[in-house]
Amino acid sequence: MSLWQKDKAFLFVLSVCASLAGVISIFIFFFLAKESVPAMAGIGLSQFVMDETWFASENQYNVLPLLWGSVLVSVGAVAFATPLGILSGLFCHFYAPSAIAGFYRSMVHLLAGIPSVIFGFWGLVSLVPLVARIHPPGPSLLAGVIVLGIMILPTIMVILDDAIANLSRLYLNSTVALGVSKWGALKGLILPNLRKQVGVSILLGLARSIGETMAILMVCGNVVRFPTSVFNPIRTLTANIALEMPFAMNVHRSALFFTGLIMMVLVAILMSTAQTRTSRQA
């Protein structure tokens, strides 16, 4: 076989693998869509937003409280984790001695490897009682926000850490040589140029938290309602599917698939926005 032929064979293998990945996600999408058809036909789209609440045994299928729960807990988690990620990135690069920075980084990487059920477990036994002491009942939007925030922190930190490392490698020497203070360089140069990566990490963090199920299920209380305070329990789209799928039948089952479809579309939008943003800056 000539080199050229080997090249072609390799290209073929690569294309098959790549298209396989693409085909699988399209396949899942169509599967979800197909399974949701009975719900869309039987219940009708209007009921999904007009019903009083989501209560399957009384044929109530309003997805809005669930959707709202998902959105609130994710936005809260990102709002919690992003400033933390920015600050810890800056701390690691500009103020921490390298040994401490290294230790901190490896801890954050470890955090990324902890399974979500462990987070849920920790939330359930330590965080929820703590929240209950401030304001009962305990399982709540707030608990979900904190647990999710800690879970997505590694994602956000790794992206920002990388970006800060890049910027300081390129420009730190020059700012020092110009007599610009550390704080001046941070404020005037590093932070303003971090904006794009912060945007990307927010999008990825959102995508990750919208899909999170197990930990949320364990700490959020799972009451279907529009929360009026951070201490109210909430139920998310994901938790709802996990809770009801085991016994759901017929239209109810199909309605759950429909909520899955909504989530997949949401995540796809977030991911593709993040993707175009990263590629545009490259």
Partner: protein, 273 residues
């Protein structure tokens, strides 16, 4: 020549002191961990001179410059021994005011590295950091330094576009302008032309000759003919026993015309290095 200026050690509001000027290193050595980058370099840099530092790759030229403005402090495990005096004041002993040091001793890097911000801000950002906030003063300095480096006509209509849209040669001149805006006395240039095309390189060279009247310049270069054109003084570094050292230094006429060392003679004839 006597000149008044801010002291490195005294508090900022102390009255400026009057002292004769120059940089003087005595037995200066620099180590990266255990390995010496250069050893025992004693060199005088006179005011309003252009001292060209030549020598093969890895002989410690860049390291020498980084010691002169104490950028070496930011490299992990880097130790400097010996002494450096800036106008009679020790740079290595006691605590120094970095802001004053970096204001007085500017540095230009081999690779042009303008900040990712507008051309205007590249000049004004460091100035603001040094406490200059008056709009009029900032604008005056901006125009002044851009005229000085011959960039004004090329960029006066696009001051608010990103500096990254400039060509490599323009970027390097912007970096020089950025350093000049702080009104330094000494400008260290580490191979300022090596990333540039011949025409841009020529422009920077002209600029160096023009700056000589007002500044003390130290220029590292690998380009022998350029060294001959710009130098008033020259120094040749070499690697001996895996460590940089000073072979010869002196007025340019002497180093290029009648070198004392054989090594220098061979190097300036282009036969070695």
């Amino acid at each position: 020549m006597d000149i008044t200026r801010n002291s490195l050690h005294l508090p900022k509001d102390a009255p400026p002191v009057t002292i004769p000027c120059c940089i003087k290193t005595t037995n200066l050595s620099l180590f990266y961990g255990k390995k010496a980058a250069f050893r025992d370099i004693s060199l005088n840099l006179d005011r309003n001179s252009v001292t060209v530092i030549m020598g093969p790759s890895g002989c410690g030229k860049s390291s020498f410059l980084s010691a002169l403005n104490r950028l070496s402090d930011f490299i992990p495990c880097c130790e400097v021994e010996g002494s450096i005096h800036l106008d009679g004041e020790s740079l290595l002993e006691g605590s120094i005011d970095r802001t004053v040091l970096h204001k007085r001793v500017g540095m230009i890097f081999q690779k042009p590295n303008p900040f990712p911000m507008s051309i205007r801000k590249n000049i004004t950002f460091p100035l603001r950091e040094h406490g200059i906030t008056s709009k009029r003063e900032l604008e005056a300095r901006l125009v002044q330094v851009l005229v000085d480096v011959g960039l004004w006509d090329e960029v006066k209509d696009r001051l608010d576009t990103s500096a990254l849209t400039l060509s490599g040669g323009q970027q390097q001149r912007l970096c020089i302008a950025r350093a000049l805006a702080l009104e330094p006395e000494i400008l260290l240039m580490d191979e300022p032309c090596s990333a540039l095309d011949p025409i841009s390189s020529g422009k920077v060279e002209e600029l160096i000759l023009k700056l000589q009247a007002r500044y003390t310049l130290v220029v590292v270069t690998h380009n022998l003919s350029q060294a001959r054109r710009i130098a008033t003084h020259a120094a040749l570094f070499w690697v001996k026993d895996d460590c940089g050292c000073l072979v010869e230094c002196g007025p340019a006429d002497q180093v290029f015309g009648s070198p004392r060392e054989e090594l220098t003679a061979a190097y300036v004839k282009g036969m070695k290095g």
